[in-house]
Symmetry: C2
Subunit: 226 residues, 2 copies
């Protein structure tokens, strides 16, 4: 029997399913608490249950799904402990990274930071907050790449997943984009000047920018939280 003749353009079926589900969870299209099943997903996405199942396992590993054996699978509620812990780890590591970046940083990646920041200005003028969000992520990612700490960034990305869903909850409206962008620009300046102390201090401020009151948000959207 014909089991799959056309290749999917980007990677395996499993990867495709994983990305699709992860996006839906992070965008809150799949709301916390939603019950899903291998069979249901495999039917809506027109694939067999195997790659779906394997994606479930990976997402459970990353704490975005909770699998109850023989019973069911649920999209994880946003867990404030996880958010707090993610913030803790991120602060410690990013402060260390930006200090490292001040000691040495590859020229070509410095250039990438420059273009990133100027693109941020453009997106801000046009009110393109979706792109701005991604540029923010990219800015920090480049810092880790330049310090040869790619795995570390991946770890942070994973720990940030619960937090980023909150950020999605607040949508574009409430972030202080302009302050954020100017801080990015200033951090880049400190790196070029190799001023580690100031850079670290500013990075700490920068990460606290999104440090809004979680508990009021929890009261506003109680159905999303554990």
């Amino acid at each position: 029997m014909n089991q799959k003749t056309q290749n999917r353009q980007s990677g395996s079926t499993r990867e495709y399913i994983y990305q699709t589900l992860k996006n839906q969870i992070m965008n809150l299209e799949l709301k916390p608490g939603t019950k899903i099943s291998e069979k249901e997903i495999s039917e809506t996405l027109k694939v067999s249950r195997t790659p779906v199942r394997e994606s479930f396992l990976r997402l459970a590993q990353e704490e975005l799904l909770e699998i109850y054996p023989q019973s069911g699978t649920v999209v994880s509620y946003i867990h404030l402990d996880f958010v707090e812990e993610g913030r803790f780890v991120r602060e410690k590591l990013e402060r260390a990274i930006v200090k490292l970046a001040c000691e040495q940083f590859p020229e070509d990646l410095l250039f990438q930071l420059e273009t990133n920041v100027s693109t941020q200005h453009l997106c801000s003028e046009k009110g393109n907050y979706k792109n701005l969000f991604e540029l923010d992520e990219e800015f920090h990612n480049i810092l880790f790449i330049g310090c040869n700490k790619v795995r570390t960034w991946k770890i942070i990305e994973q720990l940030k997943s619960h937090f980023n869903r909150i950020r999605m909850l607040r949508l574009v409206s409430n972030d202080n984009w302009d302050i954020m962008i100017s801080q990015h620009k200033q951090i880049l300046e400190f790196i070029k000047q190799k001023d580690g102390d100031r850079a670290e201090k500013l990075m700490k401020e920068h990460l606290n920018l999104v440090n809004f009151d979680l508990h009021t948000l929890k009261q506003q959207y109680p159905e999303y939280f554990k």
Copy 2:
């Protein structure tokens, strides 16, 4: 057809296979570079290919296996970049944690640290290095538990996997067990005295204790490294 009547005592078949393989990899029974396959493992461990495959995926996620699609699966070589990066992350986070522990730490876990350290003395006298190794891990784990940062420790554990294989290479002989134990004891004292600065400084020293020359080791066992 009978597909599995007896329950395995501890958890699912998948978990059992995962633990078995992980142990073999960490103990270097499965040496870096060894080619393995779903079929082979499923036959030797007398299970079907599915749980084996799912364990492979998880171990690949943790960078202990490398899966080449449609081609083969290989036990990861020890990657010095990973070791270095693991050390970086661990230092930053453990220094922050021990400082936190000096601010507040639950009474019962303090007691657990006490018993842990005294057990370490016992094991040292008896030359029980295998247990000592585990007690070392436990000591640090308790610190994270007491600071409500369990996930953070899990992250570190994963990042340490490549490093721990090196530690296994050097076996028991070369570690400075006595210094290590006295440092544990001293760290515990600083926590009780709530002396964050001294605790952090000692923790940094402590983590550098196993900071031996990797490159000579790489020359000694070239077949284990990338």
